[in-house]
């Protein structure tokens, strides 16, 4: 959070009698299109963006500090509060990291449940992204459609673990809850329900001329720039890099499923839109395969009563809906982690905003913020 000088302040020699050239505009922290409390300072020439500066930290809660004062088990619910629209993914990443540190394996049944819930969560996250992104660009209707369908996912979460948003569904070593009766049929029913709905979203937007004009060739970023800026997730894939941690370094039970990594070609906003739409279909495929063959067996590995990992450190990352979500955990052999570092995808991806909108128009800034799919809870932690 920066209250002082910004490099975007007008220099004295830039101020002229006709101050029609540069305009500094403050977008946010209270702005309908910044998805929370993001503040973007824009330097404009008319409507053209000359530069941006993101001011973040309004939602900083010191998650990493809190972690050092909680036991490994107690910290688990906190991670749900980072990317709150994809809480299940956060939980999965954390639990797997600690399991790795303890050198234990979650049982296969737990892994299947984890995959199903995480993919459902990816769907929910992408749906929320689609609705808000379309709303930012001015199409108000898709928002209500996606929220209607996201509701069905949240209902499944609620039935499974009692919570809808910050689920805290997994525990270190597996899952706490056995699937409820009818879980599989609920999920199957949902799959049947949602497949045509995704077609419906595409019908509303994919060939809509205004939508195409607003998103094609907007917010372009090349694969090389993505790598240099550490941008991951759908944004990287839309630039043509076929890289998905679920395939590259499979975790949970992902190695057992057949799915594809959709990639884009140009790396503009429209490509990112198409990639995410395809990802939603791939998620459906994964869930469909997983739900048919959930193995029987225990859902919890043998975990010591008091979790006390040996001294050492670990970095483990998963493919969250937004990109690579990593946990770097340093243990000193006590019950509390010595240091936990969360590698947040939204934070790193947001850094690319400046490069993506330079030279574009104000309206494009909104489109690009939307297409980066950031959650401020995760950016600020």
């Amino acid at each position: 959070m920066s209250h002082g000088t910004s490099h975007l302040e007008l220099q004295d020699h830039e101020k002229t009698f006709l101050d029609s050239n540069e305009l500094i505009i403050n977008m946010g922290p209270q702005h309908p299109a910044t998805h929370g409390v993001l503040r973007v300072i824009l330097k404009l020439d008319g409507e053209k963006v000359l530069g941006t500066e993101c001011v973040i930290g309004y939602l900083h809660r010191g998650v990493e500090k809190i972690a050092e004062h909680r036991t490994y088990t107690m910290f688990n619910p906190y991670v749900d509060r980072m990317d709150y629209v994809a809480a299940v993914s956060n939980g999965l990443g954390y639990c797997e990291s600690v399991e790795k540190l303890l050198n234990i394996q979650a049982p296969p049944r737990a892994n299947y449940i984890r995959v199903i819930l995480t993919e459902l969560n990816r769907l929910a996250s992408h749906m929320l992204w689609l609705g808000t992104h379309a709303l930012d660009i001015g199409a108000i209707t898709p928002l209500f459609y996606t929220f209607r369908d996201r509701e069905e996912i949240l209902k499944i979460f609620e039935k499974y673990c009692g919570a809808r948003l910050t689920t805290h569904a997994f525990r270190i070593g597996g899952c706490l809850y056995e699937t409820y009766d009818g879980f599989e049929s609920d999920v199957t029913r949902f799959l049947k329900f949602v497949a045509p709905k995704i077609e419906e979203y595409e019908e509303l937007l994919t060939t809509n001329r205004i939508w195409v004009e607003r998103t094609k060739n907007v917010g372009f970023i090349s694969a090389a720039d993505c790598v240099a800026l550490g941008v991951t997730g759908p944004v990287l894939r839309a630039s043509g890099v076929k890289w998905d941690l679920r395939k590259a370094q499979p975790y949970a039970a992902y190695s057992e499923f057949d799915f594809e990594i959709p990639i884009g070609t140009t790396g503009d906003t429209y490509d990112r839109y198409l990639v995410r739409m395809q990802e939603m279909r791939q998620s459906l495929r994964i869930i469909e395969q997983a739900v048919g063959r959930i193995p029987s067996g225990p859902i919890m590995a043998k975990v010591p009563k008091v979790i006390k990992p040996p001294a050492g450190e670990i970095y483990h990352s998963i493919e969250a809906p937004k990109g690579e979500l990593g946990y770097f955990i340093v243990s000193d052999g006590s019950t509390q982690p010595y240091r936990i570092r969360v590698r947040p995808p939204s934070f790193v991806n947001l850094q690319a905003l400046d490069q993506m909108v330079r030279g574009a128009l104000v309206a494009d800034v909104i489109a690009v913020i939307g297409t980066l799919d950031i959650v401020l809870g995760e950016v600020d932690r």
Partner: protein, 157 residues
């Protein structure tokens, strides 16, 4: 790979081990920007995943700065660590992504990165005193003065 690196940098690489299947190198802080540049250019670790730090107050050089690297080509991660007292060269010129990551480390630990273009606080307000992720910073501690001046309340707790 490790032997190759050791051959070139000799004693600069203090330690090269693997724990739970993950590799890491501990190197002298004097090697820092060049060694990382070499890792990117020659060993194809082209993606800087994260920059972070760990605080060990009892040590002489109290911070351990960690760079987590990934190579798309090899599908392999490596962690490079170094011990520093309070400043370390910036890798912004190698990976632009280090910009915000280093700012966050500076914000939380007070480690200054030499050569960083715009090193200032990122998550906390500019005028804030103290570096929260240091071990000597209490969990409910805060900059009361800042809170009183800027928010007009006695305490944020």
């Amino acid at each position: 790979m490790v032997t190759r690196l050791k051959g070139r940098h000799g004693s600069g690489i203090r330690e090269a081990t693997s724990y739970l299947g993950q590799n890491y190198l501990v190197v002298e802080s004097t090697l820092i920007p060049d060694f990382l540049r070499m890792l990117r250019d020659e060993e194809k670790f082209d993606y800087l995943v994260d920059v972070t730090a760990v605080h060990y107050p009892e040590r002489e050089k109290q911070f351990e700065v960690v760079w987590i690297l990934y190579s798309f080509e090899r599908n392999e991660r490596i962690r490079v660590k170094t011990l520093v007292a309070e400043s370390v060269p910036s890798v912004f010129s190698i990976w632009p992504t280090a910009n915000w990551l280093e700012r966050e480390v500076f914000d939380m630990f007070g480690i200054s990165f030499e050569g960083h273009p715009d090193l200032k606080r990122i998550l906390l307000p500019d005028g804030w005193k103290g570096y929260p992720l240091r071990k000597d910073y209490g969990i409910i501690q805060q900059d009361n003065e800042w809170v009183q001046i800027n928010l007009g309340i006695e305490s944020g707790q």
